[in-house]
């Protein structure tokens, strides 16, 4: 990447910092991610498409107490909506994307009570969400073909930015958002920018460039130090024999660094210098392992972490409290699921009930 890009990025960061400082309603804003050692997980359950049965499950690991439909219990029976997909924290507030309902629900993570709701308009359906600062959150708006910026403090929509067909994954590093334009695989693969990563300058709110990725690129995740980001692309359903894979990019220069091709992918996560992914095979809809990529090595061979049998892995989370993983078992996707607590080697420690199709969690 040319040197002037560094200057441009630095300048954008300074501008963003200034703007952020001006927008902030409270100079003593708590940190973006809550850190109290509560040993609590808020699990996002997708529910079944169109059934209005997305839910949140609260698990207290210290007491073992489970509130299977926590949001409804805390809000007078109010349903969370249809098809929840992601969660992000800002202080005591969690933001949950409820895709089919086109809402971003804000709740107090101590009480579960709703503290605000952002209703997106048109066809914009919130998918992945990340909170960048007390005044900036970014959410991909699938079907809206872009991203939306919102203020997590005021819980208000700030702007929308078109990026490409069928946006799914999003990650933010510095002043740039990296947005996966999946094109929904076969459905929109012929459209411009399908199968690319859009690099969005959050200051100018413009797409600066498109990075070639692969068909059906669905997820983007940032490394812990923010210097690299990783994208997962999935094969086309029309070509079930084709390989899918993971791409490593430099988050400053936007150059592709490495690419691993194989029959794995889904639920991409980064922690402790390693990349984790389900070896999810879309042709059989099953995953037998979590694969660990030690990306600090120049030659990476994924290490399989075997999962318990009889599990329909719909996602997992890296457990920051005790190490290991939380594995989300959707069972048949039409029943209440399970959260399995696994050790770092995949041994089952305990399981908890949850709602239909658990997919993500915030753990604190």
């Amino acid at each position: 990447m040319p040197v002037h890009c560094y200057w441009r990025a630095l300048l954008a960061l300074v501008i963003a910092a200034v703007l952020t400082a001006c927008d902030s309603s409270s100079p003593s804003e708590p940190p973006v991610t809550a850190k109290p050692p509560d040993s609590i997980a808020i699990v996002v359950n997708q529910g079944t498409f169109g059934q209005d049965n997305a839910s949140l499950t609260r698990i207290d690991f210290r007491t073992g107490a489970v509130d299977a439909d926590w949001f409804a219990a805390a809000n007078g029976g109010q349903k969370l909506g249809a098809t929840a997909n992601d969660i992000a924290l800002k202080g005591d507030t969690a933001f949950i994307t409820v895709t089919t309902s086109k809402t971003i629900e804000a709740i107090n993570i101590r009480t579960g009570k709703s503290v605000g709701r952002i209703q997106l308009s048109g066809q914009a359906e919130p998918w992945r969400i990340t909170v960048v600062s007390p005044t900036l959150g970014v959410v991909s708006t699938t079907n809206g073909d872009g991203i939306a910026l919102f203020n997590p403090t005021t819980i208000q929509l700030v702007a929308t930015i078109p990026t490409g067909p069928a946006t799914e994954g999003v990650a933010v590093s510095g002043n740039y958002a990296f947005v996966a334009n999946s094109g929904y695989g076969d459905l929109r693969q012929g459209e411009p920018h399908a199968g690319t990563i859009a690099v969005v300058n959050l200051s100018t709110r413009q797409v600066e460039r498109y990075l070639s990725a692969g068909p059906n690129v669905r997820e983007v995740v940032l490394s812990s130090d923010g210097k690299r980001f990783y994208a997962f692309y999935q094969h086309l359903y029309s070509q079930p024999d084709s390989l899918q894979g993971i791409i490593e990019y430099d988050a400053q220069t936007f150059q592709e660094l490495r690419r691993w091709r194989g029959r794995y992918g889904g639920s991409l996560q980064f922690a402790n210098g390693s990349l984790y992914v389900l070896d999810y095979d879309p042709t059989t809809y099953s995953a037998r392992n979590i694969l660990k990529f030690d990306v600090s090595q120049s030659a990476v061979t994924p290490t399989p972490i075997p999962l318990p049998s009889g599990v329909t892995a719909n996602g997992f989370a890296i457990n920051p409290i005790g190490g290991g993983f939380l594995l989300f078992d959707a069972r048949d996707y039409q029943s209440n699921g399970r959260v399995l607590v696994l050790t770092s080697t995949g041994q089952l420690v305990r399981e908890y009930p949850c709602g239909v199709a658990p997919v993500r969690a915030a753990i604190f």
Partner: protein, 636 residues
């Protein structure tokens, strides 16, 4: 003794003869043997419920979906409004596991196996017959839970017109006429219905109750029949053309008070041409051609592209059936039949697996036998069996069969029946080929059905009680794979069992009808966590009670109550996924008068009179209280 025996056999074969000639049917018909004596005991071999033409005219029903709810073993999955999808479930089977046949032609769409019973007006029908139990040996594919047989109306001589207006913009007009000239009879029927479908419903948001109107629920349906019959003794030729067209909104679920698919539209046209020739020596040839075009548009379905969805599905089906005359060996009557079908479906979303179209060829051969055994001077046992083989070009072939027995006693009001049969459903084209959904690894569904029942008929009372068991293996279900992606899989086994009862009593001026079903439909894979759980949308209890009274010559009052028990929307039967039981009450008052050759009838109907708020399917609210006024003019 000899007289009784002769009567049994004579009626057996005479009925076979009669039923083989009724209507344009491409199905193989096991003649329902009728045993009759002075006590008039009539019992079909399998449980059958029928709504006759007079009953169809009395009921406050405009479509088949409205009419059949309340019949034993029947549950209509109703998505609400005139244009909302309405499919039938018999004995807990899915809609695609229930064959729907119009004049013997199977209507189940090759794309998804479904028939929308809300698109078939009762004004065009002579009667509706529902056979319960696996009957693939008779009807071929899809007949796992049961079969709905629709017979087109045979209009009387003269002209009959009907018009109706009702709540939420409901309008309907129907016309029928028939003329005969020498050996020729020409009949015409037409029906047009429309509705805005903008009924209100309520939902809760953070404890506050909101009342909003349903949007995009408008529908216009038009259908008609032209029939020509030529009796050129000893032969007879019939040609029937059935057509329908509809344009309707296709609203989705109500999620957080907002209606999904607020801009989705569905347009359909369908033509079914039937020709039959009943030749001398009892040979029958039949041919049918069906053209079905469907156009789905949703400008807001952005996951399909910047312009949304714009999908066309074009189906063309053809059938040829040859029925040689029955052969009699001693007391056994054997009836063979050959069938050939061709189905082609062209659709925008099939291109990735099979090009833009898919084709299925099917060759079926059936042979059935009937045997009547006289036990003694007053008791007879009637046995029937059948075997059917079907070869398919794209899915595994099928061999299905049935064995059924009846025990009847002269001048005794009770009769017994038992049957065991198998069923088969090949995967639909969607289940095989639809992109991101279908799978070429899907196996056909197969079933075994057992039925045992008793029938009592005496002094105006008709009572039927049947117990059944239905095992389905390799049931095909759609499973969500992500927030927007569903795909099919064979879900294992489903076990359905229960008891059905039907009661009728008529003694002028009163008429009573009641039906009830107690069933348990469960997943039957012991290794699965859903083992023993109630299958989605299969109520354990169904009931109907109807009372009618004729007051004088001019006034008639009908009241009907329907009950649908609790059903679940999650396979683990989580309490939060239960939909509560529903009870509805309908009332109809009709006044009629004759003025010379003209009969005038006016009726007022109140549907869901107690304004129950409910949904048959989660998040698809049903209308509250509705009214309808109907006027009918009959000129003989």
């Amino acid at each position: 003794m000899r007289r009784w025996s002769g009567q049994v056999l004579a009626l057996c074969y005479a009925t076979a003869q009669l039923l083989a000639q009724r209507g344009d049917s491409v199905r193989y018909t096991f003649a329902p043997v009728v045993v009759e004596d002075s006590a008039r005991v009539v019992i079909p071999a399998v449980p059958i419920a029928q709504i006759s033409r007079p009953e169809l005219e009395r009921l406050p029903a405009t479509t088949v979906a409205d009419a059949v709810q309340g019949m034993p073993g029947v549950f209509v999955r109703n998505y609400g409004g005139l244009g909302g999808l309405k499919t039938i479930s018999v004995r807990g089977a899915t809609a695609s596991q229930t064959a729907v046949v119009l004049e013997g032609i199977r209507l189940n769409a090759v794309a998804n196996g479904l028939v929308d019973l809300g698109q078939l007006p009762t004004a065009l029908l002579e009667n509706i017959t529902i056979e319960r139990g696996s009957r693939s040996a008779v009807w071929g594919a899809n007949a796992i839970g049961g079969t709905v047989e629709l017979a087109l109306r045979r209009p009387d001589e003269g002209v009959r017109t009907r018009a109706a207006i009702g709540a939420f913009g409901e309008r309907a007009v129907a016309l029928e006429s028939s003329v005969s000239l020498d050996e020729h009879t020409l009949s015409v029927l037409a029906d047009v219905q429309s509705s805005r479908g903008d009924y209100p419903f309520t939902f809760d948001e953070f404890g506050t109750r909101h009342r909003i109107q349903r949007t995009n629920g408008d529908a216009t349906l038009g259908s008609g029949v032209v029939r020509w019959q030529w009796r050129a003794s000893p032969a007879e030729f019939r040609f029937t053309l059935f057509g329908r067209a509809s344009d309707r909104g296709a609203p989705g679920a109500v999620v957080q008070g907002a209606i999904e698919n607020a801009a989705a539209r569905l347009t359909e046209t369908e033509f079914l041409a039937l020709a039959s020739a009943h030749l001398g020596e009892r040979w029958t040839l039949r041919a049918a051609f069906r053209a079905f075009d469907q156009h789905y548009r949703d400008s807001l379905a952005r996951f399909r592209g910047p312009n949304g969805a714009d999908d066309r599905f074009i189906a063309r089906d053809a059938a040829v059936v040859i029925e040689p005359p029955a052969m009699v060996f001693a007391k056994v009557s054997v009836t063979p039949k050959l069938e050939a079908y061709a189905n082609t479906l062209r659709g925008d979303l099939y291109r990735f697996r099979v090009g833009s179209s898919a084709t299925r060829l099917q060759l079926g051969a059936v042979i059935g036998g009937q045997y009547a055994h006289q036990v003694d001077s007053t008791v007879a046992v009637l046995l029937e069996s059948g075997v059917r083989g079907d070869l398919y070009s794209d899915v595994p072939s099928a061999l299905t069969g049935l064995l059924q027995a009846r025990w009847v006693k002269a001048r005794f009001p009770l009769a017994l029946r038992m049957s065991i049969s198998t069923g088969y459903r090949p995967p639909s084209f969607n289940e095989l080929y639809y992109q991101n959904f279908g799978s070429l690894d899907i196996r056909p569904e197969r079933s075994v059905s057992v039925n045992a029942g008793v029938s009592y008929q005496h002094d105006g009372v008709q009572l039927e009680l049947d117990g059944f068991a239905l095992w389905v293996r390799d049931q095909i279900i759609a499973v969500p794979r992500s927030a927007i992606t569903w795909s099919v899989q064979n879900a294992g086994r489903v076990f359905s069992r229960g008891v059905e009862g039907a009661f009728r009593w008529g003694n002028s001026p009163w008429r009573l009808s009641a039906a009830g079903t107690v069933q348990r439909v469960t997943y039957d894979d012991r290794a699965s966590f859903t083992y023993g759980k109630q299958v989605l949308y299969t109520p354990a209890l169904l009931g109907m009670f109807r009372i009618e009274r004729q007051i004088g010559n001019d006034l008639r009052v009908l009241a009907q109550a329907n009950y649908i028990g609790k059903r679940y929307t999650q396979t683990d039967n989580a309490p939060s996924s239960a939909l509560p039981p529903v009870g509805t009450f309908d009332l109809s008052v009709e006044w009629s008068v004759h003025i010379g050759e003209v009969r005038l009838a006016a009726a007022g109907e109140l549907l869901n009179a107690f304004d129950a708020e409910y949904a048959i399917i989660r998040n698809f609210p049903m209308p509250g209280r509705m009214w309808r006024l109907r006027l009918q003019v009959v000129l003989r």
